[in-house]
Structures are given as structure tokens and as C-alpha cells.
Subunit: 538 residues, 2 copies
């Protein structure tokens, strides 16, 4: 009688859910206030702390360089950001506490042991060591600026507000480094335009979760918001609105700089030959004309792989993209190519006949993708592709990264891709655009990426994963609470040791972390009944 | 290969969904900008308009009373609100357009044909007539202030922004009244505390959708945020936090006044005898002590129905509630009473024995609820109860309203409840806390409440319905986009004629309405790929 059965006809979902209104003796324990004070999310490789706490001198807190430390603009900017976070964490109470007897935590000394770097990369070193000793002296050491950034995030999470409202930190020693080098979040700015300030807000969220890649699925069938200097018609004709729903070169630069300061790579995806309807609007002749019988029917299919103009276009566009986006990698897409339009087009079929591939549209797809890969490589790009490229037998460079997204035994696909010697990214279990009632983060958290058949060498070829929030049903109104804290579950899976996998142990820490994000200005949604000390908009 | 299979173990959901990443030839048409300019949501009973448009004199627009109109503070406040909405709708472009040849729409003349009323009620008259004639003269007539409020909302929706950025309105005639008298939204402020400004924002949303009841599920097991003057310990000990997570008497008054100005009733729910854990914390002796064997085990069950102090408490609390909340109705709950704690308690069993009801816990529940109903009636309250009260055979007053929430053939339950002669509310198909990927609003929209077996008299006893957003997974961070525009589907189902039920016809209107809500400051989530002219946070 309390079980409810729903049918969602449009997407064939059957949800057999228990009652929302729980029996009074049986309701789940709410998550209340500080559930895991001073815990760090994602959990460090080693985190030892004692019950001893030191009050934090919030109003006079100082970040300083150790005497032998290298200095760096990235570190200086982080000093400012985390200084503001610490001040803000204290709310109105920051001036009340001036204990005289206990040693106070008055600052963090940062020791960067190597010269600064400009841009984060797949190979960056994110390890760090952090210590708050019994004299309330806090030190952070790292071999690269990226480790310093990760360590400062951890340090800021060590500070917590006691019941009396005082900001304190425990005596702590942390030694930390990530398990996987590529920990990404995909946002899709084509199905809906995502305003720049919403993107920046989510880059803040990524930093708070030690996510280090923003996979920017910037264009797709529905709209082309990227403003190209070489091909201005692409956004002029392909954006939802050519003035208000675009990313100018300055917008792109702002996003990249904002991410760089937080040690986050921005990897753009220009998906071809499918997912290109909007691209075709501003580039006549690019897409295949679909035919009904012997006449064009007004529809367009994937990019036309049989004409040279296609490759000139790709070369010019990607050369521009390479100069705008600083990362060594581009995501080339390559997924979900429909053959029906190619099949209908006489010119395509004639070309295939003259090239001895009559009827073999997979081969045609290979021809296209091969050339795009070669162009990208010649420009100097390393590349990521969706799994179909390899599934369809395209010859790719040895250093290609293959992203596994189809949620039909992704473990088998990882085994296959790594057996071929390619590096792999896992996205399939973490499609956050799929929603359901309840605590789906537990499912994301419980998926162990390395559980596939393969040698130790193969396991090493899995370089990380991505949480994907496709844009069909999200825009500025709801994208941030839909992403957080669900993506936090993926962040910990990809950063922390494999052994950190207990959902029950993670729950109070994730609640604490969610409340921390809320206090920092990220409208992360609740996990479960309960409350945060500082609620969103209260 | 593109189908994805998910298992959510915690709530037994199996979702078999099609791919999120559509084939490029097969992606759904995005909803772009003005999809149904000047359409009104929910759709009026009669709405006739022509293609002829008049520019609106936005910057000098005037609301005026007709010469014979009654005047009213509620109307005056609405003039101010809708004046601001009209000015805001024009954005930066309001001063550009000064056409000289076309007649301009310069104002709306309001004719209230009856004296003002203070508070909205179940019996209020919400009908109105609205006209924009060929001389660009706009008039609104209604027999009550509530009709004027509904008509002003419709009028504001007739104005739309043309592609050139000019605000215009079509020649229009509308005759309108609601299909059902009770069109409610339940928000739950116990599983999560919902900040007052978030409640007010959603009352705005209700007004934009002609929802006329805010069902305030104010307390439950998890927390008791209502501050009682007679029993201050209820919130002092039962709220999540007795200072920051409460509704003071002033907060309650603010919510009621904000709703009153918009013609929206506030019906509080104080659910008993179950769902009362938090209530027990501040009122020792109220709840039943649960036993293991012959000893109390520290847990508490439903309210103890066998002691007189219980009824004194209810009488005092509800008397206070009656003076704070102005509506004639209270929701008394009565759902999901677990018997196991009563069964374990020796004193309860002894009392039952001495009252000749040994082992009959349904009878015990009846005894409790009967007295609560009698107390409520004596105070002067009419009441709403959840369906179990009637299912369990409690004798209720003839004017009781029974709310059907269990989603197991709610049509049969409606048939049963109305056959017994009670009025009914339908909530079962509209539990918006259940979420799934895709356009679930279509399912809400397609549920026809009157499709149950019964006579014409029985059909009349169905007085409306409610969209319920239980609070387990929503708070200020996400409650508003989760509610809107999904609740808008229910709003149209309950307001518009039964024949207005075509999902495809509703889609462009709902997109337009969603974008309108966004522009007015409600972060309503997107329905589908596409864009609004004015995006949230862009």
C-alpha cells in the first residue's frame, strides 16, 4: 500500500520506489550540522589527526612562503582566495574569540620546492604534505605548484566551526596524492547555453573537490556558441542567439584563466563527424545533404568526408582552437555517427565506389576520422576520443586517450581498449544527467574503475574518469545543484585510494563537505534529510 | 548498445533509459525563444485573440480603477507588483519604441464589482473577464477581488517581447474561471528547513500559476520549526536549530500576508498521531514509550492516545495555530500510523483492555483521531485529512476534505471517498519529490482527476488537488527549480477545462511560461533542450 509504481512512458523508466513519507518509527536519521568536522573530501591518502584542537586566528590569519620556497603567481592568488574563504567561514563571530592560553593557529607556511609552472597538464604533480603540529604551526610542502593548490584546499577543509562558533583545527598530518591523473567533469553548453558565471561557479566547485579537468563539450547539434574568428558564421548562424548565447574569445580566455589559477585543465570537445547540425548552419557544404530518392530532402547528416573543403575547414578551425585553448589535449568526439544520410546521398556513394569501399560506411567513417586525427596531430594536439572510434577500427596514435561512455559492461570495454595499448578514461557509470529519487551518489561512489580484466600494465593505462552532466535538462537555473555533491562522489573515487570505498563511512564526511560547499557559495543539493549550520539562502 | 541499464539498490529503481546523446539526425527539436508568444498559463476557459498587436507603453503604463469599481488594498498592491513586472519585462529596451501611428496599450482599467474581501477561501470567486479591444483599450472585470488578481496575472502574460525587443499585446478577449476550487502545492519544512525567502519566492511562483493554496507541511518527525508561544519547547528542543531553523510568529505572519496579497490560502498541517518524533522532544509524556519486553527501550512511537494530557496539549496548540493561521482549514494529517510501539507498551494495552478494545489498534487510532477532529471542530476549524483516516473507519464530520495520496489506484480511492459523501483532494499522481530523467511533467499533465467511477454528484465532491514536494531531498539550494515548471503542469490540469489536455499543444506554451518565470526571478528548470531569450544568470 505504501509502494508506488510509476511509468514514465517517454523514456521507458519503471521506478518501483518505497514511500516518501516514512513510518514514524522508521525514518532515516537526519544528517545534522557538523557530522564529520575537519574531514577532508576527497579523503587524503594518509590523514592522521588527534582530538587536540587549536583556535584559528581568523581575522589575522597569514599565508607565508617558507624561506627557501619558490614563489609563484598561482600561489599568491591562492593565498587571496583561501584567505577570503577562511574569513568567510567565521561568519559574524570572528572577532569574539581571543583565547590567551592555548596556542593559536595564526598562519600557514607554504614551501614550494620547484619553480612555478604556467598551465596544469596531464603530467602535473599534485602531491603534497601538510602538517599542523603541537605548537599550532602549520606547514605545506609540495614539489609543484599544483600540489600546493591541492594542499591549500585540504588545509581550508581542516578548519571547522565548533558548536560555540569558534573556528578551530585539529593537530593533523596529511600526506596526499591522487590515485588517477585525469579527474574530469563534462559540462555541455550546446543543449543549453550555460552562462559564463555559472561555468566559473562550477570551476570553483571542481577546485573544492580536487577535480582537475573541465571537459568543455562546447558545441553539438543543438547550438554552436563558440565564436570562431576564422569562421564567424558558425556562431552567428549556429548559436541559439548570436549576441547573448555565445562564448567570445574573451569568455573562453576568462574560463581558462579562472581554471588555470585553480590547477584545472580546460579540454574542449569539438565533436565530429556527427553531432554537428549547428556547425553546418554557418558553413555551407560542410554537412552531407540527405536524400529521399533522387532529391535532397532538406535535412543534413554528418560532415561530408568526401570533399577536400571539409579538411581545410577542420584544419583552420582546430588551429584556431589550439591557440585559444591552452591544453595539450583536444577531445575529438567521434561518437554516434548515423550512416543513413550518407547512405542516401548519391555523391557520397559514387565517391565510395571510386575508392573501392562501396557500402562500407564504417570504412568511410574511418577515412574521415583518420584525417581529423592526422590534422590534429600535425597541429600539435594530443587527443581524446569517444570509444566508438576504436570500436570501429580507426587507427589512432599510440598516445590516444579513449573515453568509455556506453554503460553496457564498461569493464569489458576498458579491458579491450587497454589491451590495445591505449590509455582510457571511464565515464559510463557517472552520467549525472540521469536522475532518480534518492541517494544516487552511493552508486557512483561504489563503482570501482579498476575492476576489469587486465594485466597490471593495462590497469596503469586507465588514467582516470569523468562525471558527465549532459545539458538536455540543465541550465543556469539548476545545473549547479544537480552537479554537486553528486560529482563529489566521483571526485573521491578518482582521487582517494581504492580502499576508501565505504559508503556509510563516507556519508557524514560528504554531508560535511556539502555544507562546506554551500557555505562557500555553491548551491550543492542536500543528500538526505537533515540540515547545515549555514543553509543556502537562510 | 546505446541503451543504458542502471540499478539503484537503495530504493529499488530500475531505469531502462534511451541514450542521452542522441543520434545527430534524431535529436529532439530544441525549444527556441518565443514558442507561444502571449499565451496564458494555465490556459483560460476561453481565450480569443487576433494577430493584430499593439505596442505597450511600458514606461508610462497605468493601472486604473473603472469609475464604478470598488477599491481594495489587495488590488492596489497588485497594481504595484504587476507594474514592476511589466517594467522589468522590457529590459533595457523600454525607452526605444515610441510608435506614432498605431494605437498603444497605455493601461489596464480594472472594474471590481463587489466590495473587497480580507482573506482568500475555498469558496472564493476567481472568475474574471479581460479584454484588449481594437482601440487598444484594456479592461478587466470580476465579481471579486480574487478574480481581479487572477485576471491581472493573465493580463501580464499577454504582454510579450517581439524579436525586435518591443513589448506588445494582441487584441484579446478572455473569459475565465477555474475548474477546481482547491489548487494546492505542498512544501515540507521539516525534512529540510526551507528559508522564509525561499517560501516567498515559491508563493510568487504559485501566483504566476494561479495556484491558490500553500499547504504548509510545517512539522514532521525530523524537525519542529514552528515556534509555539504556548509550548516554546517544541521548537526549542524539536527544531534542527532553535535559533536559525525556526518559523517565528512573525515569519508565519509574513508568509500568510505575502500569500494573502496574491490570493493564496495558507493551510498548515500538524500531522498526528504519527510523524511526531520532533514534537515529542519538547513535550515529555506526549509520545508513546516503546518497550522491548518489560522495559522501555528509549524509542518513542506515535502520540499516546490514552492520557488526557494529550488532548489538553492538542487543544492548546491548535487554538494557538487557529489564531496564527487565518484559513478556515487545518490539515490534521493522520497518515502512516505504525502500531508496533503501541503494541509494545503495557500501559497502552492495559488501557485498551479496560476500554474493551484489546488488540484492536485501528480502534485505538480511531479513538485518538476522533478526539482530535472534535477538538478541531470545537475550535472552529474545518479540516483536511490524509486518506488513511477514512480508510481506517474514523467517523469524520460531513464537511471533511479527504486527501488521496497513495498512488495505488487513486481513482478507486476517489470513488470510495466521494461515495461516502466526503469532499476529496487528489495528490497521488503529483508527488514531485519523485524524480526521473526526462519530461515527467507530461505524466502529471496527462492524469485526468475526474476519471473515476462515480455519479455526477460524486464528481462534484472532488474539489481539486495538490502537487506535493516532500522535503527529503530539497532545501533552499534546489527546491525552486525542482518545483517549477513541473508543478505548472498540475496547475493547468486543475485550472483549465478538462478538454485542455494535449501535451504537444501544451509544450510550446509551457516553454514560454517557464521562460516567463525565469525572467520574473523564479529559477524554473528547463523542460527540454533549447533556450530562453533571457536566461537565468546570463
Amino acid at each position: 500500500m505504501l509502494r508506488q509504481l510509476f511509468f514514465v512512458t517517454s523514456i521507458a523508466v519503471v521506478a518501483l520506489a518505497n514511500s516518501q513519507r516514512k513510518l514514524s518509527l522508521d525514518f532515516p536519521t537526519p544528517l545534522l550540522g557538523n557530522t564529520s568536522p575537519g574531514s577532508v573530501w576527497p579523503q587524503p591518502e594518509s590523514h592522521v589527526s588527534t582530538a587536540e584542537t587549536f583556535p584559528v586566528a581568523v581575522e589575522s590569519f597569514m599565508f607565508t612562503y617558507a624561506s627557501k620556497s619558490y614563489k609563484c603567481d598561482l600561489v599568491y592568488e591562492a593565498f587571496k582566495r583561501y584567505g577570503a574563504i577562511i574569513i568567510n567561514s567565521a561568519g559574524d563571530q570572528k572577532l569574539r574569540f581571543r583565547p590567551l592560553t592555548t596556542p593559536m593557529l595564526t598562519g600557514l607556511e607554504v614551501n614550494l620546492m620547484a619553480p612555478c609552472e604556467d598551465y596544469p597538464s596531464l603530467d602535473m604533480d599534485e602531491s603534497y604534505a601538510l602538517d599542523i603540529n603541537s605548537m599550532a604551526v602549520a606547514t605545506l610542502t609540495a614539489k609543484s605548484v599544483w600540489g600546493i593548490l591541492r594542499g591549500m584546499e585540504s588545509f581550508s577543509q581542516l578548519l571547522w566551526e565548533s558548536d560555540s562558533g569558534q573556528i578551530v583545527a585539529n593537530k593533523t598530518n596529511i600526506i596526499d596524492k591522487p590515485r588517477y591523473a585525469h579527474r574530469g567533469i563534462l559540462l555541455d553548453t550546446s543543449r543549453h547555453y550555460q552562462p559564463v558565471n555559472v561555468i566559473l561557479e562550477n570551476i570553483d566547485g571542481m577546485a573544492y573537490n580536487k577535480i582537475n579537468v573541465f571537459h568543455w563539450h562546447i558545441v553539438d547539434d543543438q547550438s554552436f556558441p563558440y565564436v570562431s574568428t576564422v569562421y564567424p558564421d558558425l556562431s552567428a548562424k549556429g548559436a541559439y542567439n548570436p549576441i547573448t548565447h555565445i562564448y567570445t574569445i574573451e569568455d573562453v580566455a576568462e574560463v581558462i584563466e579562472y581554471a588555470r589559477l585553480r590547477g584545472i585543465r580546460v579540454v574542449p570537445e569539438f565533436d565530429t563527424p556527427g553531432h554537428t547540425t549547428s556547425m553546418g548552419k554557418g558553413q555551407p557544404g560542410l554537412l552531407t545533404e540527405c536524400y529521399t530518392g533522387s532529391n535532397p530532402n532538406g535535412n543534413y547528416g554528418p560532415i561530408n568526408p568526401t570533399v577536400n573543403t571539409t579538411y581545410t575547414f577542420i584544419q583552420n578551425l582546430f588551429t584556431e582552437v589550439k591557440s585559444s585553448f591552452k591544453d595539450a589535449y583536444i577531445h575529438l568526439g567521434g561518437d554516434e555517427v548515423s550512416f543513413s544520410c550518407w547512405q542516401s546521398n548519391p555523391a557520397i556513394n559514387n565517391w565510395m565506389k571510386s575508392h573501392n569501399m562501396t557500402g562500407d560506411y564504417k570504412k568511410l567513417e574511418q577515412v574521415y576520422i583518420q584525417q581529423v586525427l592526422d590534422i590534429s596531430a600535425a597541429i600539435g594536439y594530443s587527443y581524446i576520443v569517444w570509444q566508438e572510434v576504436v570500436d570501429n577500427g580507426v587507427k589512432v596514435k599510440a598516445d590516444t586517450v579513449v573515453e568509455v561512455w556506453i554503460n553496457n559492461h564498461p569493464d569489458n570495454e576498458l579491458a579491450k581498449v587497454t589491451a590495445l595499448g591505449y590509455r582510457a578514461l571511464l565515464a559510463a557509470p557517472w552520467y549525472l544527467d540521469y536522475i532518480s529519487t534518492g541517494e544516487d551518489w552511493k552508486r557512483y561512489y561504489s563503482y570501482e574503475p579498476s575492476n576489469f580484466n587486465g594485466t597490471a600494465e593495462q590497469k596503469k593505462l586507465l588514467i582516470g574518469g569523468e562525471a558527465c552532466l549532459w545539458g538536455e535538462y540543465v541550465d543556469g537555473s539548476n545545473v549547479t545543484p544537480r552537479l554537486w555533491p553528486r560529482a563529489s562522489a566521483v571526485a573521491e573515487r578518482l582521487w582517494s585510494p581504492e580502499t576508501v570505498n565505504d559508503v556509510d563511512a563516507a556519508t557524514p564526511r560528504l554531508h560535511q563537505h556539502r555544507c562546506r560547499m554551500v557555505q562557500r557559495g555553491i548551491p550543492a543539493e542536500p543528500l538526505h534529510p537533515g540540515y547545515c549550520k549555514h543553509e543556502w539562502r537562510n
